[in-house]
Symmetry: C2
Subunit: 453 residues, 2 copies
């Protein structure tokens, strides 16, 4: 039903038509996708969404219906007919993409993605790349904080109902698990990405039966030890006592309202008193990293957390303001760096790479420099270890290698996040991670500024 | 690729299996979808997303692949095989839906949607209904404020790149236009919903050419009077003078950075001085209702606003916390009201209707009462005009009437919003709109509370 090629801003199409008309169809250009600044409450971002972005690049085609629709748009009525008859029907993305691995912590203004392609192709993919990478990076960046706050306790992504539509829920589950959540409630995400799924019961289950105990018994009849019993429909402590008195042995109980830290203690006492030491306590209800951290700090006996909107909408920073900017273009056979100088929104010219400098396994600083500046290898001599973050993931419009599994990405994320200084990871008053522009890049900025371009 | 039936929380499926096992497959139940409280910065909500919600209900089926996947889930391993072999293959939604028209201003805790269906069906659709209605209602509610702030100037939805994925961008465009935006940049939304699309040029267009003037000329060559020229790539006022000196006659110019209110005045002077009185000034760049209101208040000569993340992510309230609660269930052949009493999260029992009381065309208050309480008609005698907001839109799983066009919904929205007291609509320190629980509902709450259920 949805056309990928048309799911874009009109100006991408008008500009593509314009480049075509101007004879720039074959001119190679390089764009970089990055975030200008960290949002409030973030000390790092977690790159995500690359897989879906590359999928879009591989599948981008204009169907006959798409093209027929474009012919009807007043905005395109002056465009040469061969754009519709010749250019769009054969269109495919043929470019090269460099990207930071999903799961990697990144810091503005580091490029997360770099596209080199014929100008109209590189332009046309802007909107879709920003939407795919921006969204999942928002969610993964939040999820990493929530997981950090849980300090080893399980975090389950529960946000499908709060997500921005159905597909957003599936992708939010992916990004959340990538950044450390243990599982998701989203069955489709489980299927598509091989993520463990988990679930409990809703209040409607409890209210659907004539008595709470009847509801609990019925669920246990069907699901046995896997049952997670929801305690707060009427009175949390009374429900816990009811379970104990009835001799039910659920796998876990869930608390969803009230002072859950205090309730968790009382429920633990009741359960333990009935010999239900293996019954876990699971908490949900408008949770975020701050509430979780407070519960953990207070030593509440909580085994896991279900988190919804905080993850699936990245509610405190639902948009990162990611941008996609032209940094280099071929002019007369040579690559010319380009720079935008809008006040407060300047761009950095030239094709860039990011080097992460590590010292005894801890990231010390990142250096953004021109990709072809003295090679990263030379730098390793000066420092204990240097790693370049952007690697080529697509060439001639084709992926360089098979897609990593989410399990693999999750493991990479865990390793990469463990390299960050703990001061940068902490929730309260985090340290600022140093990001430096390399000397070659600084020189390029100076040249571009001086040239008035 | 995406399975609608599996794009849900696992517990909807476990509960459905549980109801099936408990012999409640045919038990009729009523759920209501509503929002508990207004988020900060909202004095009303605008209902939206009903069309997509009904689409989901009509198309919800479990494919053989879906069912085969469900059989593999550990969480469902104890479920009776006939649930997979008999119930799921024939599943379709056969219920009745009552809903508030899209575009209608609503106030918590008014139901936006009421579903009456066999219990497992009504339960299974929870997640998807919440996601569809919650998301678009978030966006439409923000859009109404942005449009209010623009005070008659055009607002164009520009948020595809910031949306939570591609489909979210399309639906955000729909909700924005429904709530008063003039057009969208999203081409697919334009096609699917018959929305006008509009676009300008990006900074990349300007930087792709050896000179700014060459870039402007080239675009004007292709697009003529429709051209919207972007002024701020290097220096906004210099670009305006460049246009004037070169004798270009663009349809509009766009300002995207700097002090746009001040710049708009200077640009207007430059354009007018060159006889370009018909060239409009269009402003974009991290706009929201507050910035727009400030520009309008300052009398900035701006003809239109392009708004991105504020609309497409409803950035200041990206989730409304919409909920879907069982309010009534058949027990022994009679409809029994049900009520959840979790502290701070109590529900109201019984099937409800909302009546809007109007006085000389202005909404005076809303009354939420039991749907079968003394008929709305009797009320009209006491008041100048009474309108019930929920109407039946689906029966036996089939839509009652053809889907209204977005143009139609937009007109309805405009009329309905005009009925709100201006104090409730204003951005700063808005008045609180009165919502009252009717006497029959109050009595039902008292009965349910007293019964301990």
């Amino acid at each position: 039903m949805n056309s990928l090629a048309l799911s874009t801003d009109l100006y991408e199409l008008t500009m593509a038509a314009g480049y075509y008309t101007a004879g720039l169809t074959a001119t190679r250009a390089t764009f970089e996708l990055y975030v200008r600044a960290l949002p409030a409450h973030r000390s790092y971002l977690v790159a995500a969404g690359l897989e879906q972005a590359l999928d879009c690049l591989e599948h981008l085609r204009f169907s006959r219906d798409d093209i027929d629709h474009l012919r009807t748009l007043p905005a395109l009525e002056r465009v040469r007919r061969d754009f519709f008859d010749e250019y769009l029907p054969q269109f495919r993305f043929t470019g090269e993409v460099w990207a930071v691995d999903e799961g990697t912590p990144v810091f503005p203004p580091e490029p997360l993605l770099r596209v080199t392609a014929p100008l109209p192709e590189a332009q046309l993919v802007e909107t879709v790349l920003l939407a795919q990478v921006g969204f999942q990076t928002s969610v993964a960046s939040r999820a990493a904080r929530v997981v950090e706050a849980a300090a080893g306790r399980a975090v389950v992504e529960f946000g499908a109902r709060r997500a921005h539509g159905i597909e957003a829920g599936v992708l939010a589950a992916r990004a959340s698990v990538l950044a450390g959540c243990e599982s998701t409630s989203n069955v489709e995400a489980g299927r598509r990405f091989g993520i463990p799924v988990s679930g409990t019961m809703a209040h409607s289950w409890v209210t659907a039966f004539p008595s709470e105990l009847a509801a609990f018994r019925q669920y246990m009849d069907v699901f046995g030890d896997r049952t997670v019993i929801l305690l707060d429909t009427y009175d949390t402590l009374a429900a816990a006592r009811e379970i104990a008195a009835a001799g039910l042995t659920p796998g876990a109980v869930r608390l969803d309202s009230g002072d859950v830290a205090a309730l968790s203690r009382s429920v633990r006492v009741i359960l333990d008193g009935a010999g239900l030491r293996d019954t876990k306590i699971f908490v949900s209800g408008d949770l975020d990293e701050w509430r979780i951290a407070a519960m953990v700090e207070a030593g509440a006996p909580v085994d896991g957390f279900g988190v919804g909107a905080a993850l699936s909408t990245a509610s405190d920073a639902p948009s990162l303001g990611a941008i996609y900017k032209l940094v280099e273009i071929d002019r007369g056979g040579a690559a010319a760096p380009v720079m935008k100088r809008s006040p407060g929104k300047e761009t950095c010219p030239g094709r860039k790479q990011v080097w992460r400098i590590l010292d005894a396994g801890t990231a010390r600083e990142d250096v953004i420099d021109l990709a072809d500046s003295p090679p990263g290898l030379a730098r390793t001599d000066q420092f204990p270890a240097t790693r370049s973050l952007l690697r080529r993931v697509m060439r001639d419009g084709t992926r360089e290698c098979a897609s990593p599994s989410l399990t693999e990405l999750r493991a990479r994320h865990r390793a990469a996040i463990a390299e960050l200084p703990s001061s940068v990871r902490r929730l309260h008053d985090p340290g600022r991670y140093p990001v430096r522009l390399g000397s070659a890049l600084q020189a390029a900025i100076a040249r571009a500024s001086a040239s008035g371009r």
